[in-house]
């Protein structure tokens, strides 16, 4: 139910504390954290730039989040996605889903990530240690992952 796009890092512990604060009805929280890997297609990475489509990004994340709530009885959800320049080991994305029971929380968190990967207007450009930049290609496996939910 909360969606944010930001350049700053996020603090998973603080986000989780806020997510469940003052509530005693939540039984299960599934949290996904995506991180920048130091290697891509056999090349060592210096950094990565995340570009997005201001306005549409937030609208699309809201649509994805609403769809998850339509499909599952979620008590709460959170999507935080970083933009700008990120380095190996940095956080990229955070997704949380809460429900009374764990299966719903697992499914909804996986759904949010699959949809985000295929629908949210973000693009990654990788810069290798030799300075050469290249836009990341969309992966077939992400389209396949999306197919699970149709």
């Amino acid at each position: 139910m909360v969606v944010r796009v930001q350049t700053a890092d996020f603090d998973v512990g603080a986000e989780l504390t806020a997510f469940t604060a003052g509530r005693t009805d939540i039984g299960a929280v599934v949290t996904f954290t995506g991180l920048v890997r130091g290697e891509a297609n056999g090349r060592e990475l210096r950094c990565m730039t995340l570009e997005h489509y201001p306005g549409m990004t937030e609208a699309e994340l809201q649509r994805i989040d609403a769809e998850a709530h339509r499909r599952w009885p979620l008590q709460s959800s959170l999507i935080v996605h970083r933009i700008g320049t990120l380095h190996p080991g940095d956080n990229i994305v955070l997704v949380m889903a809460a429900s009374p029971h764990r299966l719903v929380a697992f499914e909804a968190a996986a759904f949010l990530m699959d949809y985000l990967k295929s629908k949210a207007p973000f693009w990654k450009k990788e810069v290798a240690v030799d300075g050469t930049g290249s836009w990341v290609d969309a992966r077939d496996s992400d389209a396949d992952a999306l197919g699970r939910w149709s």
């Binding site: 699309e60 990229i92 990530m113 985000l116 295929s118 207007p121 973000f122 693009w123 990654k124």
Partner: protein, 85 residues
């Protein structure tokens, strides 16, 4: 009809602009029409837009399929498949 075009990622880099304001011909009515029209705007555009099926389109900040109408659109964005997450 004047429309704002937006370009992202390698589409933006190849076109050499993030944004344009364009007057669309009246017979350009669908997403497929606007992609075909873009390919007629010179070598640079042709190189980007001739490879049909690669470029994704959003009309007024929502994903749009080739058959979708662009009637009344104020903002049309062109970009490669998304790679966030």
């Amino acid at each position: 009809m004047t429309v704002k075009f937006l370009y992202f990622a390698w589409v933006r880099e190849k076109i050499g602009a993030a944004e344009e304001h364009v007057v669309l011909p009246v017979d350009v009515r669908t997403v497929a029409d606007v992609l075909a029209w873009q390919a007629t705007r010179g070598d640079t555009y042709a190189a980007v837009f001739t490879a049909a099926g690669i470029i994704r389109v959003a009309v007024d900040q929502a994903h749009a399929q080739p058959a979708a109408s662009i009637g009344g659109a104020r903002e049309i964005a062109f970009f490669p498949p998304v790679t966030g997450g």
